[in-house]
């Protein structure tokens, strides 16, 4: 009987017998006298930012107000729109007429009106605040004050970072967690926060696949000179009835911008990779247009392989905080995130910026990277090198959205870099473009009809939504989006 790269579970599936199984297998098999090449691969089926939840155990649901050692005041409350949109040039009447418009009976229109007013709260009326967050004063975002966080000591300095992790390691750097860890949709016990559940659900639906391949010459449980590869696969994860990915499926790994190959040391099933200046991996996300390369500076990975062959792990490094801001904001629109998930986007901008703790800009010295860690769970799989070149799959239906997302991100970066105010591009999702104004100045989100009847006072001019459709038609003839 040989030990295969992964121990097969006995048919009965009872956990208590797995250890017995392993022991039996090991004692019965002849100990390897010679090292031989080995490969062990995995497909990720859970992935999320590694936030530590400090509330009571057993009370671990997303968006809980529940105070804890991480956030003594509890999860950040829902946004008070009236407060958020108030500016020196905006009267209280204007605020009221937009946040709680009395005459508008259709709740969808009210929702869009709130989105619109949230979008414009800079020092000047015409600025889209999400693209130019530096034009809005910092509203402040309460950060995590606890001392415990998951992650790595990225700079090797126990005096920086300010966190201790569950293994007792000091100097853990996870400033992203500090900055955003009290936000409702991120807060919760592992794999329960709303954004995580959503992202995992999409991953298991087939939105993207992340695979890991370990190899070496000694043994998968102990090897000083192992290699770890991580990257994107175009092959879908197969979801089982118990919610996890099915084991032993084969996946092709694409060696593109989302791929990395690093050295690793394995001791008793714990894999620690080297720290590399750039670790490229697929990006955590919940919308197809967010997909791409998550570039970890000073990145490293830890993976723990259990006796049943399943893995859990941590991916960490410094990520460009501007990239993280864009991910959250421009995937749909800043106002969507604010009205649906109640992230104060402007507060997030400042929180990310001031907590940035790595990758200084050579010109200005400003820190462009923020320390971050993601946790993952993975099941055994086969990772195959494909024949011929393969690229990331972008479905035709997602191409326009992906182009738009990248465009918005580029504009945002440009604004920061040049310290100049950027305009809202044509076809942008910002500012509730479906709102249209009537001749009498009131607002509607219809195109001239309401409840199946002709709108008594229809909007004037072509709808911005119609404009958007036209933009999309024009974009459809543009070059296909290349994987980035």
């Amino acid at each position: 009987m040989t030990i295969t790269g992964r121990i097969m579970e006995a048919k009965s599936g009872r956990r208590k017998h797995r250890c017995l199984l392993l022991c039996t297998a090991l004692t019965l098999a002849p100990a390897p006298l010679m090292a031989e090449p080995w490969v062990k691969s995995f497909v990720v089926d859970k992935y999320e930012p590694a936030f530590y939840y400090g509330g009571r155990p057993g009370v671990e649901k997303a968006g809980v107000i529940e105070p804890g050692v991480d956030c003594p005041g509890g999860t950040l409350p829902m946004l008070d729109f009236a407060k958020v949109v108030k500016t020196p040039w905006r009267s209280d009447e204007e605020v009221a007429s937009w946040v709680k418009p009395a005459q508008v009976t259709d709740l969808q229109t009210v929702h869009y009106m709130q989105e619109r007013i949230l979008t414009y709260r800079s020092f000047r009326r015409d600025i889209v605040s999400y693209i130019n967050p530096f034009t809005v004063p910092d509203p402040g975002m309460p950060s995590v004050v606890g001392k415990i966080a998951e992650g790595f000591n990225l700079d090797g300095n126990v005096k920086t970072g300010g966190f201790v992790n569950s293994r007792g390691e000091k100097g853990i750097d996870n400033a992203y967690y500090r900055a955003l860890g009290c936000i409702g949709s991120f807060r919760g016990a592992p794999y329960t926060a709303a954004m995580s559940v959503r992202s995992t659900d999409k991953m298991l639906e087939g939105m993207y696949t992340m695979v890991i391949r370990l190899s070496g010459n000694k043994s998968p449980m102990n090897d000083d000179a192992a290699t770890l590869e991580i990257g994107y696969s175009p092959d879908h994860v197969n979801k089982q009835t118990d919610g996890r990915a099915s084991t032993s499926y084969s996946f092709r790994i694409v060696k593109n911008e989302q791929y990395s190959k690093v050295k690793a040391v394995i001791r008793d099933g714990v894999v620690e990779t080297e720290q590399v200046s750039e670790l490229h991996t697929p990006r955590f996300g919940w919308f197809p247009n967010q997909m791409g390369d998550a570039d970890f500076h000073q990145g490293r990975i830890r993976l723990e392989i259990g006796p049943d062959g399943f893995a859990s792990g941590l991916v960490g490094g410094y990520r460009d905080w501007r990239d993280l801001y864009s991910e959250d904001t421009f995937t749909q629109s800043g106002s969507t995130i604010e009205t649906r998930d109640h992230h104060d986007v402007i507060g997030m901008y400042y929180a990310l910026k001031r907590n940035a703790d790595g990758v200084p800009d050579p010109r200005t010295g400003e820190k462009m990277g923020i320390s971050i860690a993601y946790r993952l769970k993975a099941v055994p799989a086969y990772v195959i090198d494909p024949e011929g070149a393969l690229s990331t799959t972008v479905l035709p239906a997602d191409r326009r959205a992906t182009q738009k997302y990248r465009q918005m991100r580029d504009i945002f970066y440009k604004g920061i870099a040049t310290a100049t105010i950027q305009p809202n591009p044509r076809g942008s999702n910002e500012g509730a473009p479906q709102l249209r104004q009537r001749a009498d100045g009131s607002w509607t989100n219809s195109d001239g009809e309401r409840n199946g009847l002709r709108d008594a006072s229809p909007p004037i001019g072509p709808s911005t939504m119609l404009q958007q459709v036209n933009n999309q038609e024009a974009e459809r003839t543009a070059q296909p989006v290349t994987a980035r």
């Binding site: 009370v59 649901k61 968006g63 107000i65 709740l107 969808q108 639906e205 087939g206 939105m207 649906r340």
Partner: protein, 444 residues
């Protein structure tokens, strides 16, 4: 069972309560005012769909018991009086394959076409109600009737494929006018005509029957018995065609009311509580008087914006914004909306059950598919889309079961439904939702 001789229309019009006692259009369908029951007349089987958006709450609706005699769960409490006639399906999946998951669209298209749609807002084939109407919709005035309770003419999910949907009636008055206004065919009066296709099929059968003598001539005894069976089947088919050539008797004893007044359409839950019963009753009357055999009714759109007066956030918004309660484990406000969605379904079922037909009710002679667009609206998840089936399709379906789908594709329900309605198909759906496995445990 006759309805009240005075059909009181109660409602709120522009804020004030109105009660109108309307004069009657008595419409007893035989001269003696007797129910035409138990005389073996053919009662047609009807099909309908009820659509509501944003799903249900898994923790509150999935019964723990699987199979018959499932326990009433909190979110299905309003359906308790009809529980024996309703089956619940949990754990069914819409599988997207290589298409995106179009929020608030892919799930509902998967239920009614068995296909993961390639474009948002479009169906990749005609919807199941139209396929069934193709088979059973002849011989009635309308192939199918569509209606929506929320006043928006875009809210129809019955389609011949692509982006177009069959336009719905958007108000009780509109529905009444369509069914009982000009063109109303009183089946007890003169202008009923048999389906000409039946005559054609009769002549076709007789040609086949003519071959019989020749065919029987050379057979061995046992083969003759088998050939006899074939021609017995031919004879039975001929007999059912003879029946189809006779005017069907509408056995339900119903009264057609006068037209309802104009009512404000609104998605507020209290207003819907008045509109839904009215639309449901009109549909039931339309079925009972043979105006149509197929109906589709939508509560509201998939990103359901039904709301409680005083609360600024409609249902859909709540599903995204409302946090999950740490003690309950679900979103209570969203759950409340889902519970209302089931109460509205119960109102429809009540109207069907209240009409006695033959030795059963209109519900017994119908099959109603209740479906939605997602299992967990917060995530737009497609795993565990709830589906309910009401009515026994004139005995072709066993009712009162909780079926656990265990991750199998939701297209299995559509296949089961079509087989129950007598369609001759062995498989349905495409891609990973292509299936040949109907739920045989509920097919009689």
């Amino acid at each position: 069972m006759a309805l009240d001789r005075r059909f009181l229309l109660r409602g709120a019009f522009q804020g004030s309560a109105v009660a109108m006692a309307l004069p009657l259009l008595d419409c007893f369908l035989d001269g003696n005012g007797q129910a035409l029951a138990d005389n073996g007349k053919r009662i047609p089987t009807r099909f309908g769909t009820y659509f509501w958006g944003c799903g249900l709450t898994k923790e509150l609706f999935v019964p723990k018991t699987i199979g018959a005699n499932y326990e009433t769960t909190q979110q299905l409490a309003s359906l308790e009086p009809y529980k024996k006639k309703i089956s619940v399906f949990s754990g069914l999946r819409a599988i997207v394959d290589d298409n995106p998951n179009f929020q608030h669209w892919t799930g509902l298209a998967a239920v009614t076409t068995g296909i993961s749609p390639t474009r948002a807002g479009e169906f990749d084939s005609q919807t199941i109600d139209q396929t069934i109407a193709d088979a059973i919709g002849h011989g009635t005035r309308f192939k199918s009737i569509e209606a929506t309770c929320s006043g928006n003419k875009n809210e129809s999910y019955s389609s011949l494929g692509g982006a177009n949907t069959n336009p719905p009636e958007v108000s009780p008055l509109g529905l009444y006018t369509r069914l009982f206004g000009p063109g109303f065919q009183d089946p007890s009066k003169g202008d009923w005509k048999p389906d000409p296709q039946v005559l054609v099929h009769q002549s076709m059968l007789s040609v086949v029957a003519d071959d019989r003598k020749r065919l029987m001539a050379n057979l061995s005894a046992s083969d003759k018995a088998r050939m006899d069976q074939y021609f017995t089947s031919v004879r039975e088919l001929e007999q059912s065609m003879e029946a189809a050539l006779k005017r069907p008797d509408v056995v339900a004893q119903v009264t057609i009311p006068a037209a309802p007044g104009e009512m404000p359409v609104s998605k507020s839950v209290p207003e819907l509580q008045k509109i839904v019963p009215m639309m449901s009753r009109l549909i039931a009357l339309g079925l009972a008087t043979n105006q149509t055999h197929v109906f589709n009714i939508a509560l509201a759109e998939p990103g359901s914006t039904i709301f409680m007066p005083g609360d600024s956030k409609p249902f859909h918004q709540q599903t995204h914004e409302e946090p999950i309660d740490p003690v309950l484990g679900y979103q209570p406000v969203s759950a409340n909306f889902s519970t209302h969605s089931m109460k509205f379904f119960a109102m429809l079922i009540k109207e069907l059950e209240d009409i006695k037909e033959g030795d059963g009710t209109l519900l017994d002679h119908s099959l109603v598919l209740a479906y939605t667009d997602t299992s967990f609206a917060k995530l737009h998840a497609l795993d565990g889309i709830p589906v309910l089936l009401a009515g026994s399709a004139s005995g072709r379906v066993k009712t009162g079961y909780h079926i656990a789908g265990e991750g199998s594709p939701v297209s299995r329900v559509g296949l089961t439904v079509q087989q129950a309605m007598g369609l001759s198909i062995d498989g349905w759906g495409k891609g990973s939702m292509a299936t040949k496995k109907a739920f045989s445990e509920i097919l009689a």
